[in-house]
């Protein structure tokens, strides 16, 4: 059965493509293509009725962002989504540190829904939207 919203745990972190992208330059197409993505389990994608490559909206209580859904390259991790660290991931990460200086980057709840009509914003567009510059 196709569901409208998927409740999942978000993990942000490094991927080799994101690493290459950031070294090529933050405005590079490599950085955009490797960072504005959301890795998901195959079963979760079926549940949402989406395919690899379609756009999804990931929302937390701190904000929401449109990214491209991609299937996890390996492993079985239903209920977990992964966004490579970067501007898109940080649009939904919280700045609460619990008195330890470290914000919420891993292991907090998010909701994922299909957003086929929405476009993924580029670095400059997202900076303009979030910070007005």
């Amino acid at each position: 059965m196709v569901e409208q919203k998927l409740r999942a745990t978000l993990i942000t972190g490094r991927t080799i493509d994101q690493g290459v992208g950031k070294e090529m330059g933050k405005g590079s197409i490599e950085y955009f293509e490797s960072s504005a993505v959301c890795f998901m389990d195959k079963t979760d994608m079926i549940q949402l009725g989406i395919k690899s490559g379609s756009n999804v909206q990931v929302s937390s209580k701190y904000g929401s962002v449109i990214v491209k859904a991609v299937k996890f390259p390996s492993g079985i991790t239903p209920g977990m989504v992964f966004i490579p660290c970067g501007l898109w991931a940080n649009a939904i990460c919280g700045d609460e540190t619990f008195g330890m200086g470290m914000p919420l980057f891993k292991g907090f709840p998010v909701e994922v829904e299909a957003a086929p009509k929405e476009a993924v914003l580029t670095l400059d567009e997202l900076l303009m939207k979030e910070y007005g510059r």
């Binding site: 994101q18 330059g25 079985i76 700045d95 008195g99």
Partner: protein, 516 residues
């Protein structure tokens, strides 16, 4: 065309020092031995179109190129006028520049923090609590017969870590596992071919259940092979996990429970539960058996521990497990530090001030308190009224809430290229690429200092981090000498420390009055 050997890679904490770079007409045209990230930066990224070649100041909402003197004066004026600036970054700078950074913070009475506060800050806190049994990567390379990567994916973040320091390197006493890994890959490929052929002939095919994944109810594969063993513990099956001899898939935020359970098992205690953090206890027993029975074991831990629930307590318990294991065998633990000189930032700050990060000079002497003087906390509370960002990109890597607060006040950036924070800056300085256009000292993740090389000449008129910071520092001193009445000395700073917050309250009050 010249070939330069033994060049040090200025990207991650591995600081690989065996790169061979070919330079023609003052440009790197090709290189050998580097990883994908290294090649992206040293052959393409450093000379990209995004390179900043002139200092810029934001005028009418747009960044306009200006002279170096004008930009230095503007930056110095912003920092002198500010009551409590924050100096953040430092992880991709040389240690020489970091040293000037401390001098600058002391002069300004500002907050001083490095990128460690959003990566391995909790590890530093845990090390201060409990100590750390560690060693250099050379020791691990030659002696370790059990390597555990906990909550990290070196294949993605430190691509040559396995190849240079652990499983896939030929040590003096331990051999490389590369051949076995290639055999495993060949096996997996032929298995895929069988599956494909069976599907064609039979119409359907059920592949054998992978015995290493805990999410399926299959008996664990015994870790009984000879030679170096590689165990990966993570919340998802990473590429490193695929290369491992044994993979434990744990539930997010459950590392503390698992580490504590392993401590019990090392102490020969029984657990009254079947599963801990999603992992069957018998699997944990397999891993602890391997740990106790090895000759020299090592745990490398990553941001999966420092950024998950528990933060520094996770590291503390991992170090406690290592300490317990040292009663039975030889075991060490080491953090997988990210940027090439984030370890150096900790070292330099610690030898200059006594503290590794989260520093405050508002009282005229250094104070240390993670949670209070860490960049995210300062920004979250809106304490600082100007920010200097050097060699890092909080624009892309800080949560939105913190960045929105940073944007309320002037931002000065010092970066070689137009990254996210340079795009948001008010005064934008260009600088040389450390390790490509200028030399300097950097600390490897195991605290070994390594000299970075200069490979090509920088573009004309661009200073390195150290020279630029010295220029700004001198300008600040000149401004203060001209206007002694506005001098931001430590005493004045102390009095004004709460001023931004009071100002905000006053502004809110006046707004309310206006609305009424």
């Amino acid at each position: 065309m010249t070939e330069i050997k033994s060049v040090v890679c200025p990207i991650c904490g591995c600081l690989c020092d065996d790169l061979e770079v070919t330079v023609e007409n003052n440009e790197i045209i090709k290189m050998k031995n580097g990883c994908a990230q290294c090649e992206a930066k040293m052959v393409h990224g450093y000379k990209s179109e995004e390179r900043i070649l002139k200092p810029m100041i934001r005028k009418d909402g747009k960044l306009v190129p200006v002279s170096m003197d004008e930009a230095v004066h503007k930056a110095a004026q912003i920092l002198t006028d500010a009551k409590y600036p924050l100096l953040f970054g430092w992880s991709s700078s040389t240690s020489e520049a970091q040293q000037v950074g401390v001098e600058l913070a002391e002069e300004l009475g500002s907050a001083l923090d490095n990128c460690c506060s959003v990566c391995h800050g909790p590890s530093v806190m845990a090390e201060q609590e409990i100590g750390i049994p560690s060693c250099t990567l050379g020791q691990i390379r030659h002696r370790a017969d059990l390597v555990i990567y906990w909550a990290c994916d070196p294949w993605a973040s430190h691509p040559r870590h396995l190849e240079r320091y652990t499983s896939f390197t030929e040590g003096r006493f331990e051999g490389s596992e590369w051949k076995n890994y290639m055999e495993k890959l060949k096996g997996a490929a032929s298995q895929k071919k069988v599956a494909l052929a069976s599907r064609r002939i039979l119409g359907s095919y059920n592949p054998p259940i992978h015995p290493q994944t805990c999410t399926v109810d299959a008996p664990p594969q015994a870790i009984n092979k000879n030679g170096r063993k590689l165990i990966v513990v993570d919340v998802r099956k990473t590429i490193t996990a695929e290369a491992a001899d044994y993979f434990l898939q744990v539930e997010p935020n459950k590392d503390y429970e698992i580490l504590e359970s392993m401590r019990c098992l090392v102490a020969d205690q029984e657990l009254d539960v079947d599963k801990v953090g999603g992992v069957p206890v018998e699997y944990l027993k397999e891993v602890t058996d391997a740990m106790v029975n090895c000759d020299f074991g090592v745990i490398f831990f990553g941001l999966g521990l420092t950024q998950s629930a528990g933060r520094f307590r996770n590291i503390e318990i991992a170090i406690a497990l290592t300490r317990d294991l040292n009663r039975r065998t030889k075991f060490v633990i080491s953090p997988m530090r990210g940027h090439f000189n984030v370890t150096g930032a900790n070292v330099v700050f610690a030898w200059q001030t006594g503290y590794p990060y989260a520093l405050d000079f508002s009282q005229g002497y250094p104070q240390y308190n993670p949670g209070e003087f860490t960049a995210i906390d300062l920004l979250r509370r809106g304490d600082n009224d100007a920010t200097l960002v050097i060699s890092s990109d909080p624009g892309a890597n800080f949560p939105r809430g913190a960045m929105q607060n940073m944007m309320k006040h002037p931002i000065i950036t010092i970066n070689p290229d137009m990254n996210a924070i340079s795009r948001l800056g008010d005064v934008v300085f260009p600088t040389q690429w450390c390790g490509i256009e200028c030399e300097g000292t950097a600390y490897r993740m195991d605290l070994v200092p390594i000299m970075l090389h200069k490979v090509v000449e920088p573009p004309k008129g661009i200073l390195n981090d150290e020279e630029l910071l010295r220029k700004i520092l001198e300008e600040i001193r000149a401004i203060k000498a001209k206007n002694p009445e506005t001098e931001n000395n430590a005493e004045l700073k102390a009095r004004n420390k709460l001023a931004p917050r009071i100002e905000i309250k006053q502004r809110k009050k006046t707004k309310k009055a206006e609305v009424a």
